[in-house]
Subunit: 151 residues, 2 copies
């Protein structure tokens, strides 16, 4: 299959609130007041968990169809811990991002545990967001400044 | 600083549409019709880009304050390519997730290019979502099934 390109673009409204457009959709990201934000949206690391859960859900349904599992619904809980020290420039040996992400998947399906364990194994091996989290993902960040500033 | 815990939980509405709650916020994730979805929300890998851009924005403002940069605004564009073959169970040697993510940051700031290059370097080293993408992140996925199915 040919590669697909996905994209978003956005601007900040205040130092923490960022409004991104992805096709016809508007995503508002902010930080809670306790982290210096204006709390008008879920925060970036909550968006990351939502991306992960949403991806596991789609894969869950695709793989269920392949295995002939009647999947009535999926509930997913996701959480992670991070030390905000690096974000705020405090000394730490901890990484800035999640140290670990824990997910619980509650499928309602007419099949047995063994089949569901196989189902989950396949989901994990093929979920794009899972792959981008558990394996290194190359990123390129470009700085675009007006010509007069770059002079 | 003490670790912070972030979490989301949600359920699917149809095979692709997943509605997640994160504190008081509702995040609706779906897939476009071309990928078999009902197109009622940005899709999981678009959420991932939004998480990344939102995180770079917050870090941009924190680091600007530290460096004494007057940062008026930031615009961010993010995109990535992935081969959907693995998602749909087609043969491929490609990874399921983004092969590369490209970001362009357009800061409007009253400073020079050298200072902005240093600014960006610090942002990259301290941004949680950047860390979780470029480095491996441990995940634990638990399968929770009702007792009668597990018997």
């Amino acid at each position: 299959m040919a590669d697909l390109k996905f994209s978003i673009s956005g601007e900040n409204v205040n130092p923490t609130k960022f409004v991104a457009k992805s096709r016809q959709f508007t995503l508002t990201i902010d930080d809670p007041e306790g982290l210096g934000g204006t709390d008008e949206g879920a925060n970036p690391v909550e968006f990351l968990l939502a991306a992960y859960a949403g991806c596991l859900n789609v894969m869950g349904h695709i793989v269920a169809r392949e295995l002939g599992i009647q999947l009535k619904s999926i509930r997913i809980e996701a959480e992670g811990d991070l030390n905000p020290a690096k974000v705020f420039g405090q000394p730490t040996t901890d990484r800035p991002g999640y140290k670990e992400i824990r997910v619980n998947i509650f499928p309602e399906a007419d099949t047995n545990e063994e089949t569901l364990a196989r189902w989950l194994e396949i989901i994990e091996s093929r979920c794009p967001v899972n792959d981008n989290l558990i394996n290194p993902t190359p990123v390129k960040i470009g700085l675009k400044i007006p010509a007069e500033k770059a002079a």
